[in-house]
Symmetry: C2
Subunit: 225 residues, 2 copies
DNA sequence: TACAGTAACGGTACTCAGTTCCACCGCGAA
DNA sequence: TTCGCGGTGGAACTGAGTACCGTTACTGTA
């Protein structure tokens, strides 16, 4: 099966933006290289900028679906994993994520769009946090802070990876989210301090191979003594 | 002294946007009502959107100036007051702040611009927080979280005021910033919360006791094989 | 096979934001 | 007066985004 027009347009856009830069590329040129018409481009993408951004609608839906299964006890894990869905998408993008990162740093319009799209996730997470909180002004502030903190942790770790500062993205993200949840522990759900970690907590470990475990075990035993 | 062309353009823009809406108003119409030319508009404002937004450059400078006087002991107060400078500007705007709030809620392009401009403050506050923190990955995350939290607290309270949900903006903002600083106390300045464990690997693995490790180890080994 | 309905496609022309170039005006200095 | 010179506005241009419309390709139906 041949690539869809949508895929061809995305390919063409990344190629051209990478070669000449964003402002130096017109929508006509993208459409031409993709063998499509201008009209088709704007039917498939609301604006020129949209062609290089992740499918945030789909990611938002996936994240919302993950959140919908949470209980008060697993809220922290759910938030972590919902955020991880977005992170995983970026990780699968490889080369494109790097091109986009360079472009968003260079072109103000793209950076603005990127920043603005984060707002959607913040809202989703805020509404999620509000489920477990009383309807008070203080709680609404807490919910907003937590939602923004989750997105901040995500972006922070993602940017480190995009800059080549780390390979252990998933581990760092788990660390960052754990820290976020610890900071906001007072405001969300039952405090994680008590000695019964939920069974889902294992998913936060981000150990991928047996070697990871061997490496971490000595540290763990020392810390837990 | 007559109003400057800049002031007349701002007045005209608020009037027209308020009367007809943002998309239904062209730059030519704004310039015409202000008795100026199109060229003058674009010399004074980089884009159509900019004409209704606060002078963020000046506010950023003022905030930075306030921050520059801080010591490690007064960092929290400095951050609060620097953020308050921005809040105070909005409070002096009165009617215009309300018009802008309605417009930014209705017009995606304006909301995006508004969100993007917040990023400047986040960066300023992050750099400020980094002054008092060691140069470690964990500290950089803390700095970013704190910077974003300060902006979040500001926006949260400001929006409540814009929606008419409160008159006690300054008091609520002080409360919110106090809460933010309390949450991030572990990461900034002298910690008022004594017994908080430092963020280590231990906080990620929700293991709290040696017994937890013994219990989970068999499962882990099985999973990782 | 022919035909009708429908959905996607692509071309054309339009509006308007933003840029560039240039001519003009007022004003102070030599 | 004449020479700059900063501020101004007009005119033309590029390109994003929209509206309209004719054409093509793919369905199901007779």
């Amino acid at each position: 099966m041949a690539l869809t027009a949508r895929d061809r347009l995305i390919d063409a856009a990344f190629e051209l933006f990478d070669e000449r830069g964003y402002d130096q590329t017109t929508v006509d040129e993208i459409a031409a290289r993709a063998g499509a018409g201008r009209t088709t481009f704007f039917r498939l993408f609301r604006a020129k900028e949209d062609v290089i951004f992740p499918p945030h609608e789909a990611l938002l839906e996936a994240a919302a679906a993950r959140l919908s299964t949470a209980t008060a006890e697993t809220a922290g894990v759910a938030l972590t994993e919902a955020t991880a869905i977005v992170l995983e998408y970026y990780l699968t993008e490889g080369r494109r994520a790097r091109i986009r990162y360079r472009l968003t740093n260079a072109v103000p319009a793209l950076r603005d769009r990127e920043v603005a799209s984060m707002r959607q996730y913040q809202r989703l997470f805020r509404e999620f946090a509000l489920r477990w909180l009383p309807d008070t002004p203080a709680a609404r502030l807490h919910a907003e802070l937590l939602g923004n903190a989750a997105v901040t942790a995500h972006n922070h770790v993602l940017r480190r990876w995009l800059r080549g500062e780390t390979e252990a993205v998933r581990a760092e993200f788990a660390d960052a989210m754990a820290e976020v949840l610890r900071l906001h522990a007072a405001g969300l759900g039952p405090a994680p301090a008590p000695s019964t970690p939920s069974p889902d907590a294992a998913s936060v470990l981000v150990l991928r191979t047996r070697k990871d475990l061997d490496r971490l075990l000595p540290q763990l035993e020392r810390l837990l003594e």
